[in-house]
């Protein structure tokens, strides 16, 4: 894993990187990266966040939606979600979507 996570602007629109696919299995999401045949299994919470990263919505909107859906404090949701998204970005599981 990269030691430094990329700076993340919550206005960024992110989607699965090229060669990264996922499937929902029960309450888990399996993310598969073709380049190195690596899989990542996400629990239901992380899986929900992954599924929201659809290449169309800015991260800020996704945080808003999750906070609203769970009746949670937005700042708490952002504090939980942004580092996770940063890790996925650093691991080349996500990529920025331009012109979304």
């Amino acid at each position: 894993m990269n030691e430094r996570l990329p700076e993340l602007d919550t206005a960024t629109v992110l989607g699965p990187a090229s060669g990264v696919v996922s499937v929902t299995v029960g309450d888990e999401v399996v993310v598969y990266r073709v380049a190195d045949a690596a899989s990542l299994v996400l629990n239901s919470t992380a899986g929900l966040l992954w599924q929201c990263l659809d290449g169309a919505s800015p991260l800020a909107d996704i945080v808003d939606d999750i906070a609203r859906a769970f009746g949670a404090d937005r700042a708490d949701v952002e504090r939980d979600c942004v580092p996770m998204v940063g890790i996925w970005l650093a691991e080349n599981l996500l990529e920025e979507v331009n012109g979304a």
Binding site: V21, V23, G26, E28, V30, V34, A37, S39, L40, V41
Partner: protein
């Protein structure tokens, strides 16, 4: 060093074959290609050298690298297994199919897919005597939609592939024990899929998830005795299907 060898090409894959049987080489001449750097290798020993006095005569065997896939005195079974192994390389999974690096063990038309090394730990004679039909190979083609295992016909044969019902699967034993969640089962099973590309990754992942939903895999037993018990347990009900 084998007295006879050649490299063949099957569906873009280079396979190096070493053997003590010149007739094996002659039968594969049609697929010969020039030697390449890093081929997959198989060895077929039909006439193992006689051991010293008082020692048991070794069985003829089919080897993939240093792994014995099959040892048997039945040369016909051995060469059929060898040709089936080669055929598995000649038939990549098409759209909607998945090729897994597992071999079928069948009974009454139902197949359990298992790691070849797991099945190799159990004597072939015992398997046959118990009514199991081990189809020695290095990979199996599965149709997730129909739930069928499509057994490759031996290379050079005109036979169509035969179909067995997909009855379950064992994944290679790892350094941990215990149950796999469905998600981890899919992740583990993906390591066994041959020929995943950017173009087919999404459909392959869905297909593997479908297979996990159809029959949840377990980790393969580690000893010959537990393999025997496990085969009996998994395929016990197949007679009534």
């Amino acid at each position: 060093m084998w007295p006879h060898s050649l490299t063949i090409g099957l569906a873009g894959t280079a396979i190096s074959i070493g053997t003590d049987a010149p007739e094996v080489i002659a039968a594969l001449e049609a697929w010969r290609i020039p030697d390449v750097g890093d081929p997959i290798d198989y060895c077929l020993e039909v006439r193992p050298p006689a051991p010293g006095a008082g020692l048991p005569r070794p069985f003829p065997g089919l080897y993939h690298g240093s792994t014995a896939l099959l040892r048997t005195r039945d040369i016909s079974r051995l060469t059929t297994a060898f040709r089936r192994v080669l055929a598995s390389h000649a038939r990549p999974a098409g759209e909607g199919y998945v090729r897994l690096s597992l071999m079928p063990v069948a009974r009454h038309g139902v197949a359990l897919l298992a790691p070849p090394a797991t099945i190799a730990a159990v004597p072939d004679r015992w398997l046959l005597a118990e009514g199991f039909e081990p189809l020695y190979t290095v990979s199996s083609l599965v149709d997730p939609a129909s739930g069928e295992v499509l057994v490759d016909a031996p290379l050079g044969s005109d036979e169509p592939p035969s179909a067995l019902a997909f009855g379950g699967w064992w994944l290679p034993a790892r350094h941990w024990d215990g149950d796999l969640s469905p998600g981890f089962a899919v992740a583990e099973a993906m390591t066994l899929v041959i020929g995943v590309t950017a173009g087919n990754a999404a459909s392959t992942l869905r297909a593997v998830a479908g297979l996990v939903a159809r029959a949840h895999p377990t980790l393969a037993p580690r000893s010959a005795d537990t393999v025997k018990e496990g085969l009996g347990a998994v395929l016990a009900g197949s007679a009534s299907r």
